[in-house]
């Protein structure tokens, strides 16, 4: 019975998804299925808040403060993706009612990922998530780019799963356990095989969070996938994989952190620096956001590399702010349309200020926040991260981080420059779509007012990491 209660959110989403799958055969209206999925997710969001904290199956599936907050972030990501889809499915010519159902199944996978305390549940959750995402990426069958995105994502994702499994087999072979807590008891810090296992699992997970040097799929997939799916990619799977990485590293190898710390430091620096320079030359805004998300993952990984309470707290703050910023940006990107044609180039934004002054101000604030300019939320995210790094005596890492964010500011500010100072074009229709505005304005306002009232976010972060340390 306790097992049933612990798994209730996942079970509800699964049964709801199956029901909608059958319902979709008879009701051919995507809107109804989509709205039903939105209601389902909201119901589960409320349910998660009231879940008792416990672990089942000999500690291999845990519901604690950490998993609760991460699940809520993931479901918020899925929710905003479904709301975006609601406004755009007709114009994108995706008449596939399975879209919300695949999002639901991917959410189940991600929820299992952040709850898992066992290599097996970690792997099955990860596979469920990625398999749904492969399909979502190539959902737009009329577009060549979308098919390319799907194939690329599938092949590289399969490769990363292979790396992950290889690492898991080493860890299992050298400790005789798959449970994170038992691995922590049974490891032998001298063993080289275990280190190989950690390296490979980290590589597999770095693929999923798209950190350099395992990032090469990201720009193509982000560009090719339908925009609501791109938003979903940027929001939910990254947060889930980050939560999984934290739990894997801290629960099973928390004591021998010096073994994996340098790996995390390396991929963090590489992601920040690479993303800052590679994004400069981009002309497609979805591609730009792909590089931007690589960079943000780099900053978030600093929080992991600190191996301290402050580090983890700053990581959670950063992810929360990242979530809100990306909801704002992707609902903005979806608003860039005339009739039923979507525009994705940065140059299409030129002179936006003349036609849509209010939206321009809000997106400018969001871009400033992404660049990390005070007093917006993004600045505080980076601020906490760098504070934690300095407290852990990682000065070089934080200096490189600050320098990379200065370079990164260039491409965000370029968008602002194009919006305000370039020749105006025709009006966009999308800025009057209610559901997109419902996402865009609240999230961009949240970013702006964060500095006046930061304590809830910090409290949530404190609450989240209580169970980890």
């Amino acid at each position: 019975m306790s097992m049933f209660i612990t798994l209730l959110p996942e079970i509800i989403i699964f049964l709801g998804g199956c029901f909608l799958l059958i319902l979709g055969l008879f009701i051919k209206k995507i809107k109804i299925i989509n709205n039903a999925s939105i209601i389902l997710i909201i119901a589960v969001l409320i349910l998660i808040l009231f879940q008792p904290i416990q672990s089942i199956l000999e500690n291999s599936f845990i519901v604690d403060e950490f998993s609760q907050v991460f699940k809520i972030m993931i479901l918020l990501g899925s929710l905003s993706c479904l709301i975006m889809f609601n406004s755009s499915n007709e114009d994108l010519h995706i008449n596939i009612y399975e879209f919300p159902i695949l999002i639901l199944f991917a959410s189940i996978g991600m929820m299992i990922m952040v709850s898992s305390n066992d290599l097996l549940s970690m792997f099955v959750g990860l596979e469920l998530q990625s398999l749904s995402l492969y399909v979502l990426a190539s959902l737009n069958r009329n577009s060549l780019l979308s098919s390319e995105a799907g194939i690329k994502y599938f092949i590289l994702g399969a490769l990363s799963s292979g790396l992950l499994l290889f690492g898991i087999s080493y860890i299992y072979g050298f400790t005789g356990n798959t449970n994170f807590n038992l691995i922590a008891v049974n490891y032998n810090s001298q063993s080289l095989g275990l280190l190989i296992g950690i390296v490979f699992v980290c590589a597999g997970l770095a693929f999923k969070v798209s950190a350099v040097p395992f990032h090469m799929w990201t720009p193509d997939v982000y560009q090719g996938a339908p925009t609501p799916v791109t938003g979903f990619f940027a929001l939910a799977p990254k947060i889930a994989a980050m939560g999984l990485l934290v739990r894997f590293l801290f629960n099973s190898f928390g004591e021998i952190y010096f073994d994996w710390q340098q790996i995390i430091i390396f991929i963090s620096i590489a992601s920040m620096v690479f993303a800052a320079f590679a994004a400069i030359a981009q002309s497609n805004i979805k591609r730009l956001m792909a590089y931007s998300s690589i960079g943000h993952v780099g900053y978030a990984l600093i929080g992991v590399a600190c191996v301290s309470t402050e580090g983890l707290r700053s990581l959670v703050i950063y992810l929360l702010i990242y979530l809100v910023m990306n909801i704002a940006v992707f609902s903005f990107i979806l608003s860039m349309k005339r009739k039923d044609e979507y525009f994705e180039n940065i140059s299409d934004l030129s002179g936006l200020y003349k036609n849509h002054p209010f939206a321009s101000v809000m997106i400018t604030l969001t871009m400033f926040s992404l660049a990390g300019i005070p007093p917006l939320a993004g600045f505080f995210g980076k601020f906490y991260i760098f504070m934690a790094a300095i407290e852990s005596n990682m000065f070089i890492l934080s200096i490189i981080g600050v320098l990379a964010s200065v370079v990164g500011a260039f491409y965000y500010l370029r968008i602002v420059k194009i919006i305000y100072f370039d020749e105006p074009q025709e009006k966009f229709d999308g800025f009057s779509i209610k559901s997109l505005n419902f996402l865009f304005y609240p999230s961009s306002v949240l970013i702006t007012v964060f500095c006046f009232y930061p304590s809830p976010v910090i409290n949530i972060a404190d609450f989240t990491i209580r169970s980890l340390l």
Partner: protein, 204 residues
């Protein structure tokens, strides 16, 4: 003991020979058939180890599904040209090299490992009352208790795979004529028999 030893040698010898034939036979259909033979003998090896369940699964999954799929693919593709002798000679050195690397790695591992047989017993025999159960019961009793979550999630993964393949391949094509039984039955009041003259036809 000797009977099982004898059957072990027979099964493994057949596996080795048939897998050699898989890569050396000229006709791809023969290759697949030899592959199926190898699978059957591997199942035999599992039976010797008292792992009947795995043996049956091997036959059902690999022979029943995978190998038959291979056979279909091979039959649909046009493989008129077999491997030529010169090709084999061309790839021989690198193949031998890779083979030697694998063999030497295996030897190094075998020399360096001290097998702790007691521990292996614990690892491979986690159920305490294993002796009283049949194979299938033993696997079922942990698959549906300790591993229920993984088992069910694997099921969901397969469901997603099915949904995905249908979503990505099924197209509603315009202008395809389908038989609609309902429509045909609705016509019943208008049905009449007519004598149709050859090469002239009638109006419907």
């Amino acid at each position: 003991m000797t009977a099982s030893l004898l059957s072990f040698y027979i099964f493994s010898a057949v596996i080795l020979l048939s897998s050699l034939m898989v890569i050396s036979s000229r006709n791809p259909v023969h290759s697949v058939l030899f592959l199926i033979l190898a699978f059957f003998n591997a199942a035999g090896l599992f039976v010797i180890l008292h792992a009947e369940f795995l043996a049956m699964i091997l036959i059902i999954v690999y022979v029943g599904a995978v190998a038959v799929l291979f056979l279909f693919v091979v039959m649909m593709l046009d493989f008129r040209t077999g491997l030529e002798k010169s090709n084999i000679l061309q790839y021989m050195p690198i193949g031998l090299f890779v083979g030697m690397v694998f063999i030497s790695e295996l030897i190094i591992v075998l020399i360096n490992t001290k097998l702790d047989l007691k521990n292996i017993q614990i690892l491979t025999n986690p159920l305490s009352n294993f002796g009283n159960l049949t194979n299938t019961e033993a696997i079922g009793s942990i698959l549906y208790t300790d591993y229920i979550l993984y088992f069910q999630v694997s099921g969901i993964i397969l469901l997603v795979a099915m949904i995905g393949s249908i979503v990505l391949t099924l197209r509603d094509r315009e202008g395809v004529k389908r038989q609609s039984i309902l429509k045909q039955l609705e016509r019943s009041s208008q049905i009449e028999l007519k004598e149709v003259k050859s090469r002239e036809g009638v109006d419907i």
